[in-house]
């Protein structure tokens, strides 16, 4: 068989591109997590009238770097009676979905690694894989607290996966596409075109729903029942230490950023500047750069808002959590979907 050299070079270029994107995303996640953890500590400290980390490096910016180095030096303990093989791969199963979700996020004009046509489905499908990792971790630890944490994680993520999808359906219906890039492009032309400020009131409801359900999905504090330290020691990651614990930690904060990126993409206009003058007239690489800056700025705002919520509200009880999803979010989400469907089908299609 004739081997086409052109095809081989094309394949090689493609592989190099994929590897480069993988490395860039990994570095980006590491930087984002280092920053979000630091910001979390600053925000909580200020809310509690403290100063927060301010010794390591200028203004304490190297604090999380020091924490990470400390974590990597720790002994990697596998408890007796644990399933060694599952115990070892569980952190990877949790981290990899949190990592590959970044593939479809439009960071800027033309700055999506893979603008998939099924972007929204991809995000929800991939991010629910991490629950398997959490259950694996809880099961393999041979510890009742871990297992209870895993049970809770399972029930919580099943309950909140539905409202997340229902909320994501609203911008999908309005823009008529599952492709995150297309959804962003539909919101160009200033702040009035963003889905959050849409005159159609179901958008705000959906945005709130995505925020609440997403917080539960990313297990941040008001809903972090799977690692409720007052009841479950540390939940599913009780037995983990060192590098493996760092991976769980990384995944959790990467998910927090993913949530804010999704909120920005679906409701806050993605990478579009709020006013046309603030970068909208640029073209080419300059526009890519400016839109990246806008995207990161909006994500920063949403992350700070999430951290604010996180440091304000106490943890809910498990029955309250379940009621919130099954009795409030899912019925409202379904009604929301129906109304939006009717609006799009009967009103917009006219």
């Amino acid at each position: 068989m004739q081997i086409d050299t052109q095809q081989i070079t094309a394949l090689a270029v493609e592989i190099v591109k994929i590897l480069a994107a993988a490395v860039v995303i990994l570095v980006f996640i590491l930087l984002v997590v280092l920053y979000v953890v630091l910001k979390l500590r600053w925000v909580i400290a200020r809310i509690q009238s403290r100063l927060g980390p301010n010794r390591t490096g200028p203004w304490g910016v190297l604090q999380t770097v020091a924490d990470a180095i400390k974590l990597f030096q720790k002994e990697d303990i596998i408890p007796q009676g644990a399933d060694r093989w599952l115990f070892t791969i569980a952190p990877a199963i949790v981290f990899i979905p949190a990592y590959v979700v970044y593939v479809v996020i439009p960071f800027g004009k033309g700055l999506t690694v893979r603008p998939l046509d099924v972007g929204v489905v991809y995000v929800t499908a991939i991010s629910s894989i991490s629950i398997i990792g959490i259950i694996t971790a809880g099961w393999a630890s041979n510890n009742k607290w871990s297992l209870l944490g895993a049970f809770r994680a399972a029930s919580q993520l099943i309950a909140f996966e539905v409202p997340v999808i229902l909320a994501m359906c609203i911008p999908v219906l309005l823009s008529g596409s599952l492709n995150l890039d297309v959804i962003v492009q539909k919101q160009t032309g200033g702040i009035a075109n963003w889905n959050l400020f849409n005159a159609f009131p179901m958008c705000q409801v959906a945005c709130l729903m995505l925020l609440v359900a997403g917080l539960a999905e990313a297990n941040t504090t008001p809903f972090d029942l799977m690692e409720a330290e007052s009841e479950l020691v540390a939940g599913f990651n009780t037995e983990y230490s060192g590098m493996k614990f760092a991976l769980f930690f990384l995944a959790e904060f990467a998910e927090t950023f993913t949530l804010s990126a999704l909120l920005v993409t679906l409701f806050l206009g993605g990478y579009n500047p709020p006013l046309h003058i603030l970068g909208g007239q640029l073209t080419g690489y300059w526009y890519s750069l400016v839109s990246l800056v806008w995207f990161l700025f909006k994500c920063w705002l949403v992350v700070v808002f999430i951290l604010w919520i996180r440091s304000t509200f106490p943890r809910v009880r498990i029955d309250q959590l379940m009621n919130l999803s099954w009795k409030a979010l899912i019925p409202v989400g379904l009604a929301n979907l129906l109304i939006t469907g009717a609006y799009v089908g009967l009103w917009l299609a006219r």
Binding site: I47, S49, L51
Partner: protein
Amino acid sequence: MRKSLLKDIVNTFISLPKGLWVTAKNWSFLRPSVTQLYPEEKPTLPERYRGMPTLPVDPQLGRTPCIACGACARMCPEHIITVVPEKGTDPKDRRPAEFTIDISRCMWCGLCMEVCPKKCLKPARTFELACYDRQGMIYRLEDLMRLGGTLEPEAEESESSGDE
């Protein structure tokens, strides 16, 4: 049933922003941080702060008025005070030749200061006593006089008021 549900929903949208507002007020400039940046910013000690026992210098005598009676050494529950009087001096003018306190075992009880007949053993206004070995915890006469500063005449007043 239905009414309480409605109330719950309304309450949710009132109470959650209320909570956020409370933390936002703390977060803003309205409530500055209360943290003291310790090594740069020294804490203000309370007026009657009782630190380690020291021997302040009487400005008139140029030394501590201690008469080396040894009452403090006998009183100390930890037996950490050693007083050696100067030999061959006028019995009216006794003074310590050696005065050592091994502060590593001191429990800041203050009994030595209470029992001193000359009221010359005084609590120091210092708390930074960390050092690298146990030898550093043993304070000699000159260290105690240096740490103690000057003896304030206020001590005499309290004594006379006690006599009345």
